[in-house]
């Protein structure tokens, strides 16, 4: 078994490595993520910031493609794409994450459609809100009552890579403590960031 990791912030990459260190995984695994931050309103966004976000999406897309080729050549495996939960449920101040998260989710689902016959499963984890990303008020909108931790993400990766998930592909799995269901509670926790143009 081999696990490759691309594009994750350091804390998440470490957590994913740790999660795979003591579980049995069938076949090879690739984890591709994208590192974005909350920003201003899209209407205020500087063009350079938009271009940076598109560049991050591009980097993740071609990392997914390289990983999928490698997995297919190795006889199959599991590709896991980590996107911001805002790709499922946007909020003010999260426009860039909503755009890139939605973009990569659909790209991953098309990849799942095309690569199933090659033994490559492709799934999406919609992650967040992460500790450090927002202040503690956000927990009001998270049924489990706390923000996502890197270990939560690592554990979900191991779950998708496990033999028990062998028939799961094209899925979008929120790792968000229920945030996507109830995010209306408390309004947007991200509006403080939206007041200043980047």
């Amino acid at each position: 078994m081999a696990v490759s990791i691309h594009g994750l912030p350091a804390a998440l990459a470490t957590a994913v490595e740790d999660a795979f260190s003591d579980v049995a995984v069938a076949g090879n695994v690739a984890v591709v993520g994208v590192d974005l931050s909350n920003g201003p309103d899209l209407v205020l966004l500087q063009h350079a910031s938009w271009d940076d976000a598109i560049g991050a999406a591009r980097d993740a897309f071609f990392a997914m493609q390289r990983a999928a080729r490698s997995l297919a050549e190795g006889g199959g495996g599991c590709l896991i794409v980590l996107v911001p939960v805002h790709g499922l449920r946007t909020s003010r101040g999260c426009g860039v994450e909503a755009v890139v998260g939605s973009f990569l989710t659909t790209a991953a689902q098309v990849a799942a459609v095309e690569l199933g016959s090659l033994g490559v499963r492709v799934n999406v984890l919609a992650v967040g809100p992460l500790e450090g990303e927002v202040d503690a008020r956000t927990t009001d909108g998270v049924p489990i009552g706390r923000l996502a931790r890197p270990a939560d993400v690592g554990a979900a990766c191991a779950m998708l890579a496990s033999p028990q998930a062998g028939f799961v592909t094209g899925a979008v799995v929120p790792v968000d403590g229920g945030y996507a269901v109830t995010k209306a509670v408390g309004g947007s926790p991200f509006t403080d960031a939206s007041t200043a143009a980047q």
């Binding site: 271009d51 591009r58 755009v99 095309e114």
Partner: protein, 248 residues
């Protein structure tokens, strides 16, 4: 009205329907000057003011210059329809950087450029307004061989929904329309629509049994741009003859 010049195109259908309702229309496209001239003459024949503004929507400076010229010549912009788009068919493993960049720069960044510039003009002028983006059934049902195209359309959904939240306090609505199969030029090169048999097989997938006419998308846009749609924002209005019902 971007991507509006081509005959049989969705943009042209939207432009015609908005003109029917009394709108003066700025026609944008990246080329097709002859077709644009014919459309401008057609809309002027309806008694509307109309003009052609060629520009590549992926070029931010060109978009800003276009908005400025439109407002100088036709007046403040009340409605923006971001429709310009391109398609490509490549397997996921074979997607080239060239194709990726072309689709993303026009479909996604182009829409961002146009919507942001127009929204800023509306907000700065203290005017309410309507923004309608052409997305696709791909938003709900991705298709093989079209990973980048589908991804750009899904990205538009994220953009539309976020801008809808941002702009509602300014009286500006932001929505997207979802065409299924339209017999437009963009589909002429679809590898799955080249023979009569392939066309028949595709029609079997559409409960309504026929493709959409561009003006059917136009009527949907008219609703979203009318006062009837004042309380509708962040919404997705599919016009697909039932194509993806039960498939997403």
């Amino acid at each position: 009205m971007t991507g509006a010049a081509r005959e049989r195109g969705i943009g042209r259908g939207i432009a015609e329907c908005l003109a029917d309702e009394g709108c003066d229309v700025a026609i944008n496209d990246v080329g097709a000057a002859d077709e644009a001239a014919a459309l401008v003459a057609e809309l002027q024949g309806l008694g509307r003011r109309a003009a052609f503004y060629p520009a590549d929507v992926s070029d931010r400076a060109a978009v800003d210059a276009m908005i400025e010229a439109v407002e100088a010549e036709l007046g403040p912009i009340d409605i923006v329809c971001s429709n310009a788009g391109v398609a490509d068919w490549q397997g996921f493993l074979d997607v080239t950087e060239e194709s990726f960049d072309r689709l993303v720069s026009v479909n996604l960044t182009g829409a961002f450029n146009v919507c942001q510039a127009a929204a800023r003009s509306m907000v700065d002028g203290g005017r309410p307004g309507k923004i309608v983006v052409t997305s696709s059934v791909h938003v709900q049902m991705p298709f093989g061989e079209m990973s980048v195209y589908g991804a750009t359309k899904a990205g538009l959904k994220g953009m539309v929904e976020t801008m809808a939240i941002e702009l509602a306090p300014h009286g500006i609505t932001v929505n997207h329309v979802g065409p299924g199969w339209v017999r437009s030029f963009i589909n002429d090169s679809s590898p799955s629509l080249q023979t009569d048999e392939e066309v028949a097989a595709t029609l079997e997938l559409i409960p309504a049994g026929r493709p959409a006419e561009p003006r059917e998308l136009g009527r949907a846009a008219v609703y979203l741009c009318s006062s009837d749609g004042d309380y509708v924002t962040g919404e997705y209005l599919r016009v697909d003859g039932g194509f993806v019902v039960g498939k997403y």
